[in-house]
Amino acid sequence: MSALRVLVQREDIDVGAELARLEALGGGGLASFTGIVRGEGGMAMLELEHHPGMTGKVMRDIAEQAAERWTLAGVTVIHRYGELRAGERIVLTAAAARHRHAALEACAFLIDWLKTEAPFWKKEHFADGRSAWVESRSSDTAATDRWRP
């Protein structure tokens, strides 16, 4: 049984506290991925919209899939929504496991699947007043596909 922690929140993610929580499970190895808002091309603010009724369920489903696929002591998946500035954290995926490769692979799996399966949409707001929805990328779909049987 893996300890699953899945959160969808407006607030910042306390990465140190989240990783300490997973460390305490005694897994031996702990891998994490943190996504940060990049401030490229004059982007001033990133708006993250989501499907509130669905996001938590999809994220929990992804976490459960990771826990079935690898032997994990724990899995944490946290995704933010709302208005984020450059340098702010968007997402954290983390996995604790006895073996380092299980932790690292589960962490990569989680972030790949979140990108293509979790109902979030990003809109970039630029300093000059323009704004545009971020288009999905085929490279992300390909990254998810590599985990399919």
Binding site: H51, M54, H79, I111, E117, A118, F120
Partner: protein, 87 residues
């Protein structure tokens, strides 16, 4: 039968609503039929659903194909491909 619709991202902006309750005729059996029926309303709906290759849907919080049946559905979400995560 009344169904709750939810719109997200560009679809929401084009239509100008985050959701609405609709009561389509019995001939509207699948999601694609629902979309065709909505487009008949004109303007915002036409723009929202102009590119069907970039349309995705969920019924009662589960992703479905656009050919999925509406039978038994309580809530239908219509949205573009998701772009969460990072980097």
């Amino acid at each position: 039968m009344a169904i709750d619709l939810l719109y997200f991202a560009g679809i929401r902006e084009a239509i100008g609503l985050s959701g609405e309750r609709v009561d389509p005729p019995a001939s509207v059996a699948r999601i694609v039929d629902l979309v065709d029926w909505l487009v008949e309303r004109g303007n915002g709906y036409v723009a929202a659903f102009a590119d069907r290759t970039r349309l995705r849907a969920a019924i009662d919080d589960r992703f479905v194909d656009l050919t999925a049946s509406l039978a038994g559905a309580r809530e239908i979400a219509l949205f573009p491909p998701v772009t969460g995560g990072a980097a």
